[in-house]
Subunit: 136 residues, 3 copies
Amino acid sequence: MRSRTDYLFFETARRRELVNITARVAQTVAASGVQEGFCLVSAMHITSGVWVNDEEPGLKEDFMELLERLAPTADYRHHRTGEDNGDAHLKRTLTGHQAVLPVTKGRLDLGPWEQVFYAEFDGRRRKRVVVKVIGE
Amino acid sequence: MRSRTDYLFFETARRRELVNITARVAQTVAASGVQEGFCLVSAMHITSGVWVNDEEPGLKEDFMELLERLAPTADYRHHRTGEDNGDAHLKRTLTGHQAVLPVTKGRLDLGPWEQVFYAEFDGRRRKRVVVKVIGE
Amino acid sequence: MRSRTDYLFFETARRRELVNITARVAQTVAASGVQEGFCLVSAMHITSGVWVNDEEPGLKEDFMELLERLAPTADYRHHRTGEDNGDAHLKRTLTGHQAVLPVTKGRLDLGPWEQVFYAEFDGRRRKRVVVKVIGE
Protein backbone atom coordinates (compact mmCIF):
# COMPACT_ATOMS: atom_id res chain seq x y z
CA MET A 1 0.00 0.00 0.00
CA ARG A 2 1.11 3.54 -0.73
CA SER A 3 0.02 6.72 1.01
CA ARG A 4 0.77 10.41 0.98
CA THR A 5 -0.42 13.22 3.25
CA ASP A 6 -0.25 16.91 2.38
CA TYR A 7 -1.61 19.91 4.22
CA LEU A 8 -2.94 22.92 2.35
CA PHE A 9 -2.83 26.24 4.18
CA PHE A 10 -5.33 29.06 3.75
CA GLU A 11 -5.72 32.56 5.04
CA THR A 12 -8.47 34.09 2.96
CA ALA A 13 -8.84 37.83 2.49
CA ARG A 14 -12.59 37.69 3.01
CA ARG A 15 -14.64 36.12 5.77
CA ARG A 16 -16.46 33.82 3.33
CA GLU A 17 -14.84 32.41 0.26
CA LEU A 18 -14.90 29.39 -2.03
CA VAL A 19 -11.38 28.43 -3.13
CA ASN A 20 -11.08 25.94 -5.98
CA ILE A 21 -8.45 23.41 -4.84
CA THR A 22 -8.92 20.74 -7.52
CA ALA A 23 -5.48 21.28 -9.07
CA ARG A 24 -3.75 21.20 -5.69
CA VAL A 25 -5.51 17.97 -4.74
CA ALA A 26 -4.52 16.47 -8.10
CA GLN A 27 -0.88 17.30 -7.30
CA THR A 28 -1.03 15.21 -4.14
CA VAL A 29 -2.55 12.34 -6.09
CA ALA A 30 0.20 12.53 -8.72
CA ALA A 31 2.96 12.74 -6.10
CA SER A 32 1.55 9.74 -4.20
CA GLY A 33 2.11 7.32 -7.06
CA VAL A 34 -1.24 5.73 -6.21
CA GLN A 35 -2.97 4.21 -9.25
CA GLU A 36 -6.11 2.84 -7.55
CA GLY A 37 -7.28 4.27 -4.25
CA PHE A 38 -9.09 7.01 -2.36
CA CYS A 39 -8.16 10.64 -1.72
CA LEU A 40 -9.62 12.25 1.40
CA VAL A 41 -9.94 16.05 1.46
CA SER A 42 -10.98 17.28 4.89
CA ALA A 43 -11.17 20.75 6.45
CA MET A 44 -9.32 20.58 9.79
CA HIS A 45 -10.95 23.71 11.20
CA ILE A 46 -14.49 23.60 12.43
CA THR A 47 -15.71 26.72 10.68
CA SER A 48 -14.85 25.61 7.14
CA GLY A 49 -15.95 22.82 4.84
CA VAL A 50 -15.38 21.10 1.51
CA TRP A 51 -17.81 21.50 -1.38
CA VAL A 52 -17.80 19.47 -4.60
CA ASN A 53 -19.77 21.28 -7.24
CA ASP A 54 -19.56 23.52 -10.29
CA GLU A 55 -17.06 26.34 -10.92
CA GLU A 56 -19.78 28.83 -11.84
CA PRO A 57 -19.82 32.30 -10.22
CA GLY A 58 -23.62 32.63 -10.04
CA LEU A 59 -24.02 29.23 -8.41
CA LYS A 60 -21.31 30.03 -5.88
CA GLU A 61 -23.29 33.11 -4.84
CA ASP A 62 -26.52 31.07 -4.71
CA PHE A 63 -24.77 28.56 -2.45
CA MET A 64 -23.52 31.20 -0.02
CA GLU A 65 -26.98 32.81 0.01
CA LEU A 66 -28.62 29.45 0.80
CA LEU A 67 -26.28 28.94 3.75
CA GLU A 68 -26.90 32.49 5.02
CA ARG A 69 -30.65 31.87 4.84
CA LEU A 70 -30.51 28.50 6.64
CA ALA A 71 -27.81 29.32 9.20
CA PRO A 72 -27.78 33.12 9.38
CA THR A 73 -25.27 35.45 10.95
CA ALA A 74 -26.93 35.95 14.33
CA ASP A 75 -26.33 35.89 18.05
CA TYR A 76 -25.69 32.29 19.06
CA ARG A 77 -25.14 30.66 22.47
CA HIS A 78 -21.64 29.88 21.24
CA HIS A 79 -20.89 33.60 21.41
CA ARG A 80 -20.92 33.50 25.22
CA THR A 81 -17.39 32.14 24.83
CA GLY A 82 -16.29 35.41 23.22
CA GLU A 83 -16.43 34.00 19.68
CA ASP A 84 -18.64 35.54 17.00
CA ASN A 85 -18.61 32.71 14.46
CA GLY A 86 -21.50 30.46 15.50
CA ASP A 87 -23.00 30.71 12.03
CA ALA A 88 -19.74 29.43 10.50
CA HIS A 89 -19.82 26.24 12.60
CA LEU A 90 -23.36 25.60 11.41
CA LYS A 91 -22.61 26.45 7.77
CA ARG A 92 -19.75 23.90 7.84
CA THR A 93 -22.20 21.27 9.01
CA LEU A 94 -24.73 21.91 6.27
CA THR A 95 -22.00 22.02 3.61
CA GLY A 96 -20.14 18.96 4.82
CA HIS A 97 -16.53 19.19 5.91
CA GLN A 98 -14.93 16.56 3.69
CA ALA A 99 -15.01 14.57 0.48
CA VAL A 100 -13.54 11.24 -0.53
CA LEU A 101 -12.44 11.28 -4.16
CA PRO A 102 -11.81 8.10 -6.13
CA VAL A 103 -8.39 7.70 -7.75
CA THR A 104 -8.49 5.56 -10.89
CA LYS A 105 -5.57 4.87 -13.23
CA GLY A 106 -3.49 7.37 -11.28
CA ARG A 107 -5.92 10.29 -11.58
CA LEU A 108 -8.82 11.89 -9.72
CA ASP A 109 -11.92 10.14 -11.05
CA LEU A 110 -14.31 13.11 -11.01
CA GLY A 111 -17.43 13.79 -13.04
CA PRO A 112 -17.25 16.26 -15.96
CA TRP A 113 -18.17 19.30 -13.87
CA GLU A 114 -17.06 18.24 -10.42
CA GLN A 115 -14.62 20.70 -8.87
CA VAL A 116 -13.39 20.60 -5.28
CA PHE A 117 -13.69 23.75 -3.18
CA TYR A 118 -12.40 24.76 0.20
CA ALA A 119 -15.38 26.58 1.74
CA GLU A 120 -14.28 29.22 4.23
CA PHE A 121 -16.95 30.67 6.53
CA ASP A 122 -14.75 32.48 9.06
CA GLY A 123 -11.63 33.54 7.20
CA ARG A 124 -8.78 35.93 7.76
CA ARG A 125 -7.29 33.26 10.04
CA ARG A 126 -4.67 30.67 9.16
CA LYS A 127 -6.37 27.33 8.46
CA ARG A 128 -5.52 23.88 7.14
CA VAL A 129 -6.99 21.18 4.92
CA VAL A 130 -5.61 17.65 4.98
CA VAL A 131 -5.29 15.82 1.65
CA LYS A 132 -4.51 12.15 2.14
CA VAL A 133 -4.25 9.45 -0.52
CA ILE A 134 -4.14 5.71 0.15
CA GLY A 135 -4.08 2.90 -2.38
CA GLU A 136 -1.78 0.84 -4.49
CA MET B 1 -4.55 -4.61 -2.05
CA ARG B 2 -7.53 -5.26 -4.29
CA SER B 3 -9.78 -2.72 -5.96
CA ARG B 4 -12.68 -2.57 -8.35
CA THR B 5 -14.41 0.39 -10.01
CA ASP B 6 -17.87 0.25 -11.58
CA TYR B 7 -20.01 3.01 -13.02
CA LEU B 8 -23.78 2.95 -12.70
CA PHE B 9 -25.75 4.83 -15.35
CA PHE B 10 -29.07 6.55 -14.79
CA GLU B 11 -31.59 8.39 -16.90
CA THR B 12 -34.62 8.79 -14.71
CA ALA B 13 -38.10 9.32 -16.13
CA ARG B 14 -38.90 12.03 -13.61
CA ARG B 15 -36.97 15.13 -12.66
CA ARG B 16 -36.67 14.02 -9.04
CA GLU B 17 -36.33 10.44 -8.01
CA LEU B 18 -34.82 8.22 -5.33
CA VAL B 19 -33.43 5.01 -6.85
CA ASN B 20 -32.47 2.23 -4.44
CA ILE B 21 -29.03 1.01 -5.58
CA THR B 22 -28.11 -1.19 -2.60
CA ALA B 23 -28.20 -4.43 -4.61
CA ARG B 24 -26.12 -2.96 -7.43
CA VAL B 25 -23.50 -1.69 -4.97
CA ALA B 26 -23.42 -5.13 -3.31
CA GLN B 27 -22.66 -6.66 -6.73
CA THR B 28 -19.55 -4.51 -7.07
CA VAL B 29 -18.45 -5.53 -3.58
CA ALA B 30 -18.92 -9.23 -4.41
CA ALA B 31 -17.11 -8.92 -7.74
CA SER B 32 -14.18 -7.10 -6.11
CA GLY B 33 -13.22 -10.05 -3.93
CA VAL B 34 -12.51 -7.58 -1.11
CA GLN B 35 -13.10 -9.07 2.35
CA GLU B 36 -12.16 -6.05 4.49
CA GLY B 37 -12.26 -2.55 3.02
CA PHE B 38 -14.30 0.48 2.03
CA CYS B 39 -16.79 1.02 -0.78
CA LEU B 40 -17.22 4.57 -2.05
CA VAL B 41 -20.50 5.47 -3.76
CA SER B 42 -20.35 8.95 -5.28
CA ALA B 43 -22.64 10.84 -7.66
CA MET B 44 -20.47 12.19 -10.49
CA HIS B 45 -22.98 14.82 -11.59
CA ILE B 46 -23.41 17.96 -9.57
CA THR B 47 -27.20 17.92 -9.45
CA SER B 48 -27.57 14.51 -7.82
CA GLY B 49 -26.56 12.96 -4.53
CA VAL B 50 -26.41 9.78 -2.47
CA TRP B 51 -28.75 9.17 0.46
CA VAL B 52 -28.45 6.37 3.01
CA ASN B 53 -31.75 5.90 4.77
CA ASP B 54 -34.92 3.83 4.93
CA GLU B 55 -36.83 2.27 1.98
CA GLU B 56 -40.16 3.70 3.12
CA PRO B 57 -42.38 5.56 0.62
CA GLY B 58 -43.73 8.12 3.09
CA LEU B 59 -40.28 9.03 4.32
CA LYS B 60 -39.02 9.40 0.79
CA GLU B 61 -41.76 11.97 0.13
CA ASP B 62 -40.95 13.72 3.42
CA PHE B 63 -37.32 13.93 2.37
CA MET B 64 -38.10 15.45 -1.02
CA GLU B 65 -40.49 17.91 0.63
CA LEU B 66 -37.81 18.95 3.13
CA LEU B 67 -35.37 19.66 0.31
CA GLU B 68 -37.97 21.61 -1.64
CA ARG B 69 -38.67 23.72 1.44
CA LEU B 70 -35.00 24.42 2.20
CA ALA B 71 -33.73 24.82 -1.39
CA PRO B 72 -36.87 25.58 -3.42
CA THR B 73 -37.36 25.61 -7.14
CA ALA B 74 -36.81 29.31 -7.82
CA ASP B 75 -34.94 31.76 -10.00
CA TYR B 76 -31.24 31.50 -9.11
CA ARG B 77 -28.22 33.48 -10.30
CA HIS B 78 -27.02 30.21 -11.83
CA HIS B 79 -29.86 30.52 -14.34
CA ARG B 80 -28.12 33.41 -16.09
CA THR B 81 -26.04 30.66 -17.74
CA GLY B 82 -29.18 29.31 -19.42
CA GLU B 83 -29.60 26.46 -16.92
CA ASP B 84 -32.76 26.07 -14.83
CA ASN B 85 -31.48 23.64 -12.22
CA GLY B 86 -30.01 25.86 -9.49
CA ASP B 87 -32.20 24.19 -6.90
CA ALA B 88 -30.80 20.78 -7.85
CA HIS B 89 -27.20 21.87 -7.17
CA LEU B 90 -28.27 23.07 -3.73
CA LYS B 91 -30.35 19.98 -2.97
CA ARG B 92 -27.31 17.81 -3.76
CA THR B 93 -25.30 19.78 -1.21
CA LEU B 94 -27.84 19.39 1.58
CA THR B 95 -28.27 15.67 0.83
CA GLY B 96 -24.59 14.93 0.47
CA HIS B 97 -23.19 13.53 -2.75
CA GLN B 98 -21.47 10.39 -1.51
CA ALA B 99 -21.23 7.66 1.09
CA VAL B 100 -18.41 5.39 2.21
CA LEU B 101 -19.72 1.95 3.12
CA PRO B 102 -17.71 -0.49 5.23
CA VAL B 103 -17.04 -3.92 3.73
CA THR B 104 -16.64 -6.62 6.40
CA LYS B 105 -16.21 -10.35 5.76
CA GLY B 106 -16.83 -9.75 2.08
CA ARG B 107 -20.16 -7.95 2.47
CA LEU B 108 -21.57 -4.45 2.86
CA ASP B 109 -21.62 -3.83 6.60
CA LEU B 110 -24.84 -1.79 6.80
CA GLY B 111 -27.27 -1.27 9.65
CA PRO B 112 -30.59 -3.16 9.65
CA TRP B 113 -32.53 -0.47 7.77
CA GLU B 114 -29.76 1.28 5.88
CA GLN B 115 -30.41 1.35 2.16
CA VAL B 116 -28.37 3.28 -0.40
CA PHE B 117 -30.19 5.61 -2.78
CA TYR B 118 -29.17 7.54 -5.85
CA ALA B 119 -30.92 10.89 -5.36
CA GLU B 120 -31.73 12.54 -8.67
CA PHE B 121 -32.75 16.23 -8.59
CA ASP B 122 -32.49 17.08 -12.30
CA GLY B 123 -33.26 13.91 -14.19
CA ARG B 124 -34.16 12.94 -17.71
CA ARG B 125 -30.45 13.28 -18.51
CA ARG B 126 -27.83 10.52 -18.63
CA LYS B 127 -25.84 10.49 -15.40
CA ARG B 128 -23.27 8.36 -13.63
CA VAL B 129 -22.42 7.13 -10.15
CA VAL B 130 -18.98 5.71 -9.37
CA VAL B 131 -18.80 2.67 -7.08
CA LYS B 132 -15.25 1.92 -6.01
CA VAL B 133 -14.06 -0.73 -3.56
CA ILE B 134 -10.57 -0.92 -2.06
CA GLY B 135 -9.30 -3.37 0.54
CA GLU B 136 -7.79 -6.78 0.95
CA MET C 1 -2.96 -4.11 4.53
CA ARG C 2 -4.31 -4.06 8.07
CA SER C 3 -7.88 -3.49 9.18
CA ARG C 4 -9.95 -3.47 12.34
CA THR C 5 -13.70 -3.15 12.86
CA ASP C 6 -15.33 -2.21 16.16
CA TYR C 7 -18.95 -1.48 16.96
CA LEU C 8 -19.91 1.11 19.57
CA PHE C 9 -23.27 0.66 21.27
CA PHE C 10 -25.49 3.46 22.51
CA GLU C 11 -28.73 3.74 24.38
CA THR C 12 -29.03 7.37 25.32
CA ALA C 13 -31.16 8.55 28.24
CA ARG C 14 -32.59 11.43 26.21
CA ARG C 15 -34.19 11.49 22.80
CA ARG C 16 -31.56 13.86 21.42
CA GLU C 17 -27.99 13.83 22.52
CA LEU C 18 -24.48 14.53 21.30
CA VAL C 19 -22.01 11.96 22.65
CA ASN C 20 -18.31 12.72 22.24
CA ILE C 21 -16.73 9.49 20.93
CA THR C 22 -13.28 10.81 19.97
CA ALA C 23 -11.46 8.78 22.64
CA ARG C 24 -13.31 5.58 21.73
CA VAL C 25 -12.49 6.03 18.05
CA ALA C 26 -8.84 6.65 18.95
CA GLN C 27 -8.82 3.31 20.80
CA THR C 28 -9.84 1.48 17.64
CA VAL C 29 -7.10 3.26 15.71
CA ALA C 30 -4.49 2.29 18.33
CA ALA C 31 -5.67 -1.32 18.45
CA SER C 32 -5.59 -1.60 14.64
CA GLY C 33 -1.85 -1.07 14.41
CA VAL C 34 -2.46 1.06 11.31
CA GLN C 35 0.13 3.82 10.85
CA GLU C 36 -1.19 5.38 7.61
CA GLY C 37 -4.81 4.93 6.61
CA PHE C 38 -8.43 5.97 7.01
CA CYS C 39 -10.87 5.48 9.85
CA LEU C 40 -14.57 5.40 8.96
CA VAL C 41 -17.09 6.30 11.68
CA SER C 42 -20.64 5.64 10.51
CA ALA C 43 -23.99 5.59 12.32
CA MET C 44 -25.72 2.32 11.43
CA HIS C 45 -29.19 3.50 12.41
CA ILE C 46 -31.08 5.84 10.17
CA THR C 47 -32.15 8.30 12.86
CA SER C 48 -28.67 9.18 14.08
CA GLY C 49 -25.60 10.80 12.58
CA VAL C 50 -21.96 11.72 13.10
CA TRP C 51 -20.88 15.30 13.71
CA VAL C 52 -17.30 16.58 13.70
CA ASN C 53 -17.12 19.90 15.47
CA ASP C 54 -16.27 21.66 18.71
CA GLU C 55 -16.84 20.35 22.27
CA GLU C 56 -18.56 23.54 23.40
CA PRO C 57 -21.90 23.35 25.24
CA GLY C 58 -23.41 26.51 23.73
CA LEU C 59 -22.57 25.43 20.20
CA LYS C 60 -24.06 22.01 20.78
CA GLU C 61 -27.34 23.68 21.76
CA ASP C 62 -27.12 25.98 18.72
CA PHE C 63 -26.66 22.93 16.50
CA MET C 64 -29.68 21.10 17.91
CA GLU C 65 -31.75 24.29 17.60
CA LEU C 66 -30.71 24.68 13.95
CA LEU C 67 -31.81 21.13 13.19
CA GLU C 68 -35.11 21.61 14.99
CA ARG C 69 -35.74 24.76 12.97
CA LEU C 70 -34.88 23.15 9.60
CA ALA C 71 -36.42 19.70 10.19
CA PRO C 72 -38.90 20.26 13.02
CA THR C 73 -40.72 17.74 15.14
CA ALA C 74 -43.97 17.49 13.18
CA ASP C 75 -46.43 15.09 11.62
CA TYR C 76 -44.69 13.42 8.68
CA ARG C 77 -45.96 10.96 6.08
CA HIS C 78 -43.52 8.49 7.60
CA HIS C 79 -45.76 8.40 10.69
CA ARG C 80 -48.44 6.49 8.77
CA THR C 81 -46.22 3.46 9.47
CA GLY C 82 -46.79 3.92 13.21
CA GLU C 83 -43.40 5.58 13.77
CA ASP C 84 -43.12 9.08 15.24
CA ASN C 85 -39.51 9.85 14.32
CA GLY C 86 -39.73 11.38 10.85
CA ASP C 87 -37.85 14.44 12.03
CA ALA C 88 -34.96 12.25 13.22
CA HIS C 89 -34.49 10.70 9.76
CA LEU C 90 -34.30 14.19 8.28
CA LYS C 91 -32.00 15.55 10.99
CA ARG C 92 -29.59 12.67 10.28
CA THR C 93 -29.52 13.69 6.63
CA LEU C 94 -28.72 17.34 7.32
CA THR C 95 -26.05 16.40 9.89
CA GLY C 96 -24.45 13.70 7.79
CA HIS C 97 -24.26 10.14 9.03
CA GLN C 98 -20.55 9.46 8.80
CA ALA C 99 -17.02 10.82 8.78
CA VAL C 100 -13.75 9.52 7.38
CA LEU C 101 -10.84 10.44 9.63
CA PRO C 102 -7.25 10.36 8.42
CA VAL C 103 -4.80 8.23 10.40
CA THR C 104 -1.22 9.54 10.22
CA LYS C 105 1.77 8.15 12.11
CA GLY C 106 -0.54 5.84 13.99
CA ARG C 107 -2.91 8.52 15.29
CA LEU C 108 -6.12 10.30 14.33
CA ASP C 109 -5.02 13.29 12.28
CA LEU C 110 -7.63 15.80 13.45
CA GLY C 111 -7.56 19.59 13.56
CA PRO C 112 -6.97 21.33 16.91
CA TRP C 113 -10.65 21.57 17.84
CA GLU C 114 -12.13 18.70 15.85
CA GLN C 115 -14.03 16.29 18.08
CA VAL C 116 -16.17 13.40 16.83
CA PHE C 117 -19.73 13.13 18.09
CA TYR C 118 -22.40 10.50 17.82
CA ALA C 119 -25.55 12.53 17.15
CA GLU C 120 -28.65 10.80 18.45
CA PHE C 121 -32.03 12.13 17.28
CA ASP C 122 -34.31 9.29 18.41
CA GLY C 123 -32.70 7.78 21.48
CA ARG C 124 -33.73 5.50 24.32
CA ARG C 125 -33.23 2.63 21.86
CA ARG C 126 -30.17 0.42 21.44
CA LYS C 127 -28.08 1.64 18.49
CA ARG C 128 -24.74 1.02 16.87
CA VAL C 129 -21.89 2.91 15.23
CA VAL C 130 -19.30 1.11 13.13
CA VAL C 131 -15.67 2.23 13.45
CA LYS C 132 -13.48 0.68 10.78
CA VAL C 133 -9.80 1.36 10.10
CA ILE C 134 -7.92 0.28 6.99
CA GLY C 135 -4.32 1.04 6.08
CA GLU C 136 -0.79 -0.16 6.54
